[in-house]
Symmetry: D2
Subunit: 353 residues, 4 copies
């Protein structure tokens, strides 16, 4: 959990906000003797480097493209310190929970979730030059922008440095893959796997777009170009030769690698002078003084992985409940760790009869 939080932590490099937060997590409940206990896992990560006066001007005016105005519209309050409820600091909770989900996925089905920065402003790493089957976390973590191609990473860092020095910001794109996802996750209609992933990822701060598989470029193709043909691999499994579906067909995972892309807008908080209004309805000008990220995507990589892992773990549990029920075959109902219980799958049970 701490490893993941360190990837999200402010102050980790020159291209992130200079705020210093150790983001040290303390587990308050739910874990003991090396495993979970069946109880909720509570984690505390206190703030240490919050400077209240950085936010003094925000109390007067709504920051453009921030949540100040809409939060006030909805709840009738202005909670300004650190961005209030809308601070991206809330993503700590997502990353911490994602660490647990990743572990569950790894143990259950050797599922791996990996994200990387595939665009910063005009600098792009096309998906098709990355080998998604061999991509490693080490490649991603080998540079501060979290792009697995070292040359393009360098260009991305330069692009961020350029806006950073003048107090501006840039947007970017994160590509996320999930390998070894069990077949059968997701539902055919409203709760399609891509719909759940889209919701999870579009709930991250600053996101503006989501793609699965071929994405928007798929809308420019013909069916004969786009369809993924099936074949039988050496192990006798049903596979697809191409993966424009992005690992999901009809809302259900097909066992191929799931590939997604998420667009992030440029950070709203910039030191450029901007026009805005006060809560009382007066027009005014505003220049931010807080210490903020010139580009959110390097720190958003673990957030994206966390949300995907959480969605997949949820879907794994649901799939088991609906489609992988064990059959209890003893006189007395079986209990964990107790003798006398024999578990057989429904299918095996059916063949016995």
């Amino acid at each position: 959990m701490q490893v993941e939080l360190d990837r999200r932590r402010p102050g980790q490099s020159r291209i992130t906000t200079p705020r210093k937060e150790s983001d040290t997590c303390k587990i308050l409940s739910g874990v003991g003797q090396g495993s979970t206990l069946g109880t909720p896992i509570a984690v505390s990560v206190p703030n240490t480097d919050q400077r209240g006066n950085d936010y003094s001007e925000m109390a007067l005016a709504y920051r453009p493209s921030h949540a100040d105005a809409t939060y006030d519209f909805k709840y009738g309050v202005r909670a300004v310190e650190g961005g209030g409820r809308s601070s991206a600091r809330e993503t700590i909770g997502r990353v911490a929970a994602g660490a647990v989900a990743k572990k569950l996925l790894k143990i259950q089905s050797a599922t791996e979730v990996l994200a990387y920065v595939s665009r910063v402003h005009g600098v792009e790493l096309p998906d098709d030059v990355v080998d998604h089957e061999k991509l490693t976390i080490e490649q991603i973590e080998s540079n501060i922008v979290r792009c697995p191609d070292p040359v393009i990473a360098e260009e991305m860092i330069k692009a961020i440095d350029m806006v950073r020095l003048r107090g501006d910001s840039v947007g970017g794109v994160i590509t996320c893959i999930a390998r070894n996802v069990p077949r059968g996750l997701g539902s055919p209609v409203f709760d399609k796997l891509e719909a759940e992933l889209a919701k999870g990822l579009m709930s991250l701060p600053a996101t503006k777009g989501f793609e699965i598989g071929s994405g928007f470029s798929g809308s420019k193709m013909t069916g004969s170009e786009h369809n993924d043909e099936f074949y039988i691999d050496d192990s006798g499994n049903v596979r697809t030769r191409t993966n424009r579906s992005g690992g999901i067909q009809g809302g259900i995972s097909n066992g191929e690698t799931i590939v997604m892309r998420v667009a992030f807008k440029p950070t709203s908080t910039i030191t450029t002078l901007q026009k805005t209004v006060t809560r009382e309805g007066h027009e005014t000008e505003f220049r931010a003084r807080g210490r903020h990220d010139p580009c959110v995507v390097p720190r958003a990589v673990p957030m994206v992985e966390a949300m995907v892992a959480l969605v997949l773990a949820d879907q794994l549990l649901q799939h088991h409940a609906q489609c992988q029920l064990l059959r209890f075959d003893t006189n007395l109902p079986p209990a964990n760790g107790e003798k006398g219980s024999e578990n057989v799958t429904l299918e095996e049970a059916a063949t016995r009869r």
Copy 2:
């Protein structure tokens, strides 16, 4: 409701599937005396033109990029007639329910939801040449492809005709706007309004991508280019001069028009010969014979509107429950249509004390 279903209906023009379904809806419950009754609204829309033998080959082989294989992976069954659970025929239910949601939104807050086709294959209608404040349903419905620009509509129809004649298909993009959305809909963290909209829209069949406001192009901008500055309009309301946020900031609607784009892949069912496998694990070839849409986007326009209307109606109810409670101010609790009850808002109640 029937008007909306007619927009979705197969056989409505030469660029849709030639299957003839009247899709006549019959309301079984929930409505009477000109209004809803508080009970679930049940609607029946029977099939009339289903030809079972169109699907005979499908029973043998998994159709490429269709849900056949994944449905079988998950549930262990092949339900082939009409595509089974994964048939886009299920979207009838969405469109019918959306008609009710649209009416609620219109009465409650004069909210309007309009979608149109903004791309077919290589033919695009850029969002910025459409005046989203003045767009009308008549403009959209003025041609069979549902694109409000007549010249570009003609090109789109040609593009569809071209693939239609050779049994292939093309993808496309639908842009959807929601005007006059009340401020304050949505939640700050997990249930952001754009996350709910993304889930709703990515649950439609054949979708591959979702954008809100600036979308993926926003990731190529700087903060100083992207931010929406606030001003006070003539009525004294807080407004934004630009709308790159797409009507939502920090997960909550800000009263500006919500703008979304949804990418649809080309229809999977094509008459081209394709390689695939059978359920028993043998490689084979497959050529579809069913009557299918050469491009899904013209018929998907009412589906997109329906999902957006359903999400907004849900959020409207939630917002009312959390933030717009009335205060009951009588001795006896008030009842509908009964004398003696006086409703005041919490705010008014506070000033009285």
Copy 3:
């Protein structure tokens, strides 16, 4: 399903309402080739013997202790035919769904759910004279009141006949047991198994009380009298010698038989002249003419079983999802009915490493 519906059907004996409804069910979707298909199961059960004019006076006045007034208070409408949304006819859906849940429970864990009438007005069959381990459905169905003791059943029938002839009604109690419930169902805090069962049963029409195990009489005992001591049975399983807990401890099933009791009020619709008011606020008198049950409990027996089966089936799925995950142990994620997949429990997986 039809067998269960026949147990609920009106007109099945002289002590139920004389309305004649065959209640023949037709399955519209979700089942084929002898099994469920992973799609929702839709069932249609049309009315045949509804006489609209039986309800003419109801349109004028609120029937005492019926839902007429409160439904109007909430929704502002009067939907009178057949009792509207509040008609006990809605329990058909519960009984139909319960038939599916019962089958699932039987296959999964040999769990059986049986209910019987244990009181009608002053005539009571004490729980402790019934051997809950040996009780059979045949004993329950051996008489029209559904009480497994033939002598007491006769007295109950007489008690119902007495009020039936004078147009009055009586209340009663149903006892329900669930045998062979797997250990571990339920949650420790808010979603305790007894809480879910209480909600399920108190959602049935006309219920006024719920007990689990010792119930209200347990509140008159001391801890030393009430506690269930543990022992190890011949198969080495942890069991309790007594079952005042009623099969649930700390919100979680312990493998002993679950025992519940549900109180039903006398049917509200009686032919006695009663004072009431009209919708317009005038006082008036009312005498029902509809054909109604003099006592609801004989027909409520299958409803009680259905709700208990539905709750247990839900909990079984949830328990599997949370605590009985299989581990996928192959290179490629496994699929239903496909070679190459080997399922091992987490525990087994742990011992291999």
Copy 4:
């Protein structure tokens, strides 16, 4: 919030557990400037007087009628300190949240929730000797057992003292009323108001039964005795002369006082020697040494009130969302505290047209 927690606190009198916990609450988030902020309210209440060694024997053996065995059956772990997840200490959270719900109900609709002890072992205060319309919190809090009748309270205290001195325990019953509940709360079918209340109350530790209105005694009545006749009161409101329904008809509140009763079993932890088994499957004997309540009902009074308040507050929000929508009547959607917005009810809006 602290006032309510003090009513639940251990060590408050000689008839509760002698453990000393101040149960001082600290609000971590969600409240500021004298009101809620729209964010989750986090409350911390640390333990101070926990003696680990009180629980040493429990680690060896399952305590009879406690959750030790079932928790282990479900999750495969033994979390013993303080009872683990199943400790009634979790009810602090319910009481804290209930304090917020009570405030909301009071402001919104002047709804009051009051509970009192109506039975301890064989000592009973019949409901009909208490005037539920005039009952005050002062009467309830006037003695340590929380029974509004001073004479019977004295007998109850004696009954508790008797078992307390010999290390045994007794059960009891709590009656709870909710006055001035708005009409229309609850739903007609699955989510009946009494079903929600039953679930909320049966989720409290040690509960064995629930009654609404006439409860189990209602099952011994005839319809002509049980029905609540309607009349028009002096203010022109529809009322009932009797209240055997307990304030709810057809799952929906009717504006009369809601009356419930909850049965609590005797505390499981007693110092009597009892037979039990160890986790490893050996039979043994066990005598508790922890400091526990000889009777839970005095401290359970605020828990019962809290759960009822939480259910009613939830239902109030849902009712507003479904049936009390405001209509927005301006060009621009209205926002909190902003000029130009005019709220009218749907009904008013309808009459204007």
